[in-house]
């Protein structure tokens, strides 16, 4: 282990059960290769995705977070993603004020048919996270006594 390992970002993806999770599944069954940096966590709906989970991911050492669900109008629970979108608008502003790097927090709508989009988007955010490097600032916060 004397060799320096290249930096591999850890990305946590909170995805909705009905769209993005199936989109990721489709990417898999279509043998579309995407970076193994992303850890997918399946939740019922984007409306269920508590903002605390985003903070939690950073606390646990994530370098970027993705939150993804059904396109507007396609929510399995009718309006969960509309509620989520409204909260994200406010939450992003709070992150800005706290000085948390919003380039590391991604939101997307990816449907069950968009395996290709999932592959492309995950590849893209992995490259962004790789370029940004480890999220040292938040790690320091979490390690401070």
């Amino acid at each position: 282990m004397s060799e320096q390992q290249p930096f591999e970002p850890k990305i946590v993806a909170y995805v909705c059960n009905w769209c993005t999770y199936l989109g990721a599944d489709l990417a898999g069954t279509n043998r579309l290769e995407y970076p193994a940096n992303v850890r997918i966590i399946r939740l019922p709906c984007t409306g269920r995705i508590d903002f605390n989970l985003i903070i939690k991911a950073f606390e646990m050492g994530a370098d970027a977070v993705l939150v993804s669900g059904c396109h507007p109008g396609d929510c399995h629970y009718t309006a969960g993603n509309f509620h989520a979108r409204r909260r994200w608008i406010l939450f992003r502003q709070l992150l800005e004020t706290m000085g948390i790097d919003t380039r590391r927090v991604h939101f997307s709508w990816i449907s069950a048919a968009e395996g290709k989009k999932f592959q492309q988007f995950v590849t893209e955010i992995t490259e962004t996270a790789r370029a940004l490097g480890p999220y040292q600032a938040y790690r320091e916060i979490c390690q401070a006594e």
């Binding site: 605390n52 309006a79 509309f82 406010l90 709070l94 706290m98």
Partner: protein
């Protein structure tokens, strides 16, 4: 004015309209303390002066106060906005409450919030004590001046600022206790199975807590600044509240507690909400 307040409260208690008056009384060190008057002869304890900065609305949702019976509450124009939000969120029954509006003098209560004050006279009180002062129109620039100055810093500088500030947080939760809109009987910060927010007063726990506190008040905070006033560590929590208030105003044209007719923005949605940040 003080006499008028005492007479009004005496009458309310005598007539049996209310069982308790939530008001201000003289405390130590020249401060005023929240005071609860249940007997008419105790109305002499009530005071009204420029040191009455506490927002008493926080007591309206406390079980021990509710147990006293029907209440009359003293509010300033700024505090009154909390009642609007509480009513919209079905936390109080306005018809079961006597609101005693206290009109501020031109100086207000000499708190930072008074600088951006637009209306020193409560608007929906049952009884208003004091002379109706005129309204002073303020622009969004006036309201968010402190935030605007803070946002001139780079993101790294902002984070460094919060690291220094929140390092002093002792997790006393005074910001939560004093807030009229933090009324959850069990706060998410108290959940321990599983722990959502690290309970230690480390930076990790303090960041998570303040992000949570501020965001749970997003689109709800009325800007009474009580959290900032009571913070024993002197952390300027107002900046976080202001940032969410500005986001609510800019994106949803909404200011909490200002318009009694306006529906809350959290828990609602529009199909036309912006989404240029979503891929």
């Amino acid at each position: 004015m003080q006499n008028e307040l005492r007479q009004t409260c005496r009458r309310l208690l005598e007539e049996g309209t209310v069982q308790v008056v939530i008001g201000y009384g003289d405390g130590t060190d020249g401060q005023t303390f929240p005071t609860f008057v249940t007997r008419r002869d105790d109305v002499e304890r009530l005071v009204w002066n420029e040191r009455c900065y506490t927002n008493l609305a926080t007591y309206l949702t406390r079980p021990e106060i509710l147990a006293l019976g029907k209440a009359a509450i003293c509010v300033k124009a700024c505090d009154e906005r909390a009642l609007v939000v509480l009513e919209k969120e079905s936390q109080i029954d306005r018809s079961q409450l006597v609101v005693i509006g206290l009109a501020c003098s031109t100086d207000g209560v000499k708190q930072p919030k008074c600088e951006a004050c637009e209306n020193r006279t409560p608007r929906w009180a049952n009884v208003t004590i004091g002379d109706a002062a005129g309204e002073t129109a303020k622009t969004t620039a006036d309201r968010y001046a402190a935030l605007q100055a803070f946002m001139q810093k780079t993101p790294d500088e902002r984070m460094a600022y919060w690291k220094t500030e929140l390092a002093r947080c002792v997790k006393c939760y005074a910001c939560r206790q004093v807030c009229p809109l933090c009324y959850c009987r069990q706060c998410i910060a108290d959940k321990n199975r599983p722990v959502v927010i690290s309970t230690s007063a480390t930076l990790k726990g303090s960041f998570a807590w303040q992000i949570t506190r501020a965001f749970h008040l997003g689109g709800r905070c009325i800007g009474c600044d009580e959290c900032t006033r009571v913070c024993p560590a002197g952390i300027d929590l107002r900046l976080l509240n202001l940032s969410l208030a500005r986001a609510a105003e800019e994106n949803f044209n909404f200011r909490a507690g200002v318009d009694v007719e306006a529906e809350p923005i959290v828990g609602a949605y529009s199909e036309r909400d912006r989404e240029e940040f979503i891929r």
